[in-house]
C-alpha cells in the first residue's frame, strides 16, 4: 500500500510559466467569487467608513477587504500574472454589479493586483511561505495606500490623516489580504480542492518543509 501510494505521488514538475486551462478557469472562479465579496464589502464600507470618520485616516483599515483576491489567486495558481489576473477579474465583477466608484474600480484593481504580483515576482514565483504571502499583502496595501491618498476624496485631507491612512492600509493588507488568504489557501489544500495545482500537490510531497500541510500526506499513506 505504501509503495503503491509513493509510486503514484508525482514529483513536483519543473516550473512552467504557461497557464493551463484549469489555471485560467479556477483563477477566474476565485476572481468572480471575490468580486461578489468586493461588491458586498463596498456596500458595508460606506457605513463602516462613516463610523470611522471620527478617527480620520483609520478608514484605511477597511482597504484590505479589496486586496485579498490578488494574493489568494497568486498563491493558489502560482503562475506569473495570477495575482494581477484574479484581482482584475474581481474588480471587474464588482464593477459589473455596480459600485460607487464606477470605472475607477478597474484602475484600482489593476494597481492593487500589481502590488501583490510584484512581491511574488520578486521571489521568482518560487517561495510561497507565510512571510512572502504577508509581504505580498503589504504590497497590495502600499498600492492602494498610494492611490487612495493621491486620487480619491482622501487627497483633500491633511497630510497627517493621509499618513495614518497609508499605514493602516498597509496593515490591513498584511492581515486581511496576506494572513487570511494564506489560511484560505491552506484550507483549500487540506480539503483536497487543489489536487490539480502545485499549491495542493506539493503539500503531500514535501510535507517536512511545510509541517502544517503534512497531515494530508500522512493520511494518504498511513491507511494500510
Amino acid at each position: 500500500m505504501n509503495m503503491a501510494t509513493t509510486s503514484i505521488t508525482r514529483q513536483p514538475r519543473a516550473f512552467s510559466a504557461r497557464w493551463r486551462v484549469v489555471d485560467i478557469v479556477v483563477a477566474s472562479v476565485i476572481g468572480v467569487a471575490s468580486g461578489v465579496i468586493f461588491w458586498a464589502w463596498g456596500l458595508a464600507w460606506t457605513p463602516l467608513s462613516a463610523a470611522l470618520a471620527f478617527a480620520p485616516g483609520l478608514a484605511g483599515l477597511l482597504a484590505g477587504g479589496w486586496l485579498f483576491a490578488g494574493v489568494l489567486g497568486g498563491i493558489v495558481i502560482r503562475k506569473p500574472g495570477a495575482a494581477l489576473f484574479t484581482e482584475v477579474v474581481a474588480a471587474v465583477v464588482s464593477m459589473l454589479v455596480g459600485t460607487q466608484w464606477g470605472f475607477s474600480t478597474l484602475i484600482w484593481g489593476v494597481v492593487e493586483g500589481l502590488g501583490a504580483e510584484l512581491v511574488l515576482a520578486a521571489f521568482l514565483y518560487s517561495n510561497w511561505r507565510l512571510g512572502v504571502v504577508l509581504l505580498s499583502g503589504a504590497g497590495a496595501g502600499v498600492a492602494v495606500g498610494l492611490l487612495d491618498t493621491n486620487f480619491t476624496d482622501y487627497a483633500a485631507l491633511d497630510f497627517g490623516f493621509k499618513a495614518v491612512y497609508f499605514v493602516s492600509a498597509v496593515a490591513s493588507g498584511i492581515v486581511i489580504a496576506g494572513l487570511l488568504s494564506w489560511l484560505a489557501a491552506r484550507g483549500l489544500a487540506r480539503a483536497g480542492a487543489l489536487s490539480r495545482f502545485a499549491s495542493g500537490r506539493l503539500a503531500a510531497v514535501d510535507g517536512e518543509s511545510e509541517p502544517v500541510r503534512s497531515d494530508s500526506g500522512t493520511e494518504a499513506t498511513s491507511t494500510p
Partner: protein, 260 residues
C-alpha cells in the same frame, strides 16, 4: 443573478460594442480623477445627465444600481467638509474638527465628482451583456482568447454559486452546524462555498479541455464583434465631455491637479 445578468432592453446604447463603452468610461474617469474641483465635475455631470435618456435603462434599474453613489456622495462630502484641507475663513470648530470656506468648497467638489465619475460607468455597464464584452475584448482588443473566454466561463458560474450558497445553508442547518453566531456562520459557509467553487472550476476546466478549448490553434468566433461608426461616436462624445469639462474648469480658474 439578476444583478449580474441584468435584463438588457434594446436601446441605442445597448447595441454599441462594449469595448467602446469601456474606452469612453475609462477616458472620462481618468480625466475627472486628475482634478478635484467643482466646475469640471459639475460640467461632466450635467452633460452626462443630458445623455442619460438615451441609455435605455429602466428607472427602477437605474436607481437600484446607482444607489451606492447616492449614499456615498453626501457622506464623502461631509467627511471632507469636517476633515478636509483647511483654507479661507474659519466657519466652525470643535477639537481637531474644523469647517472652513476651503473645506466646504472641497467637500462640494468631492460629492459632485463621485457622481460624475460613477454614473457613466454604472449606466454603461448596466446595459452590457458580459458575453458581448468578452467577444469585444477577444476580437476588437485582441486580448488572449483563452483568458477572455476562461474569465467569461467563471462569470457564468455565478448563478450556480448563488444556488450553492442556499443549499449550503440548508445542509448546515440540517446538521446543526453554525447556528451559534452570524460571523462564524458566514465565515464557515463562505469557506465551504470557496471549496465548492474551486472544485466546480476544476471540473469545468476538464470539460472545456475535452471539447478542445485551450489548444494552440487560432480561435474562430461565433459572434462577430465589430467596431464601427456608432462606437467611434460614443468615444467622441466622451472626448467632447472631457475636453469641455477641463476647458471650462481651467477658464473659471478652478482646475486643481490632484498631485500639486
Amino acid at each position: 443573478m439578476s444583478l449580474i445578468t441584468p435584463e438588457i432592453r434594446a436601446s441605442t446604447i445597448a447595441s454599441v460594442n462594449p469595448v467602446a463603452k469601456l474606452i469612453a468610461a475609462i477616458l472620462l474617469a481618468l480625466v475627472l480623477l486628475l482634478s478635484i474641483d467643482w466646475a469640471s465635475a459639475l460640467v461632466a455631470l450635467v452633460l452626462e445627465a443630458l445623455l442619460l435618456p438615451f441609455a435605455g435603462l429602466a428607472a427602477r434599474q437605474f436607481w437600484l444600481r446607482t444607489a451606492p453613489l447616492w449614499f456615498a456622495a453626501p457622506l464623502a462630502c461631509l467627511t471632507t467638509v469636517l476633515y478636509g484641507r483647511d483654507s479661507g475663513d474659519l466657519l466652525w470648530q470643535a477639537g481637531f474638527v474644523s469647517v472652513t470656506e476651503g473645506s466646504v468648497s472641497l467637500g462640494v467638489a468631492i460629492g459632485v465628482r463621485i457622481l460624475a465619475i460613477g454614473l457613466p460607468g454604472i449606466v454603461l455597464f448596466a446595459t452590457t451583456d458580459p458575453t458581448d464584452l468578452a467577444d469585444g475584448l477577444g476580437q476588437v482588443l485582441r486580448l488572449p482568447s483563452r483568458f477572455v473566454i476562461g474569465g467569461l466561463a467563471g462569470l457564468r458560474l455565478v448563478g450556480l454559486f448563488i444556488e450553492d450558497w442556499r443549499f449550503l445553508a440548508l445542509a448546515r442547518r440540517a446538521r446543526g452546524v453554525g447556528d451559534s453566531n452570524l460571523v462564524s456562520r458566514i465565515a464557515g459557509q463562505g469557506f465551504s462555498l470557496l471549496v465548492l467553487s474551486v472544485r466546480r472550476g476544476s471540473k469545468l476546466a476538464t470539460a472545456m479541455e475535452a471539447k478542445g478549448f485551450g489548444s494552440r490553434r487560432e480561435r474562430t468566433w461565433a459572434r462577430e464583434s465589430t467596431f464601427g461608426r456608432r462606437e467611434w461616436t460614443l468615444v467622441a462624445i466622451a472626448v467632447v465631455i472631457a475636453v469641455l469639462a477641463v476647458t471650462l474648469a481651467v477658464a473659471l480658474g478652478t482646475w486643481k491637479f490632484v498631485l500639486s
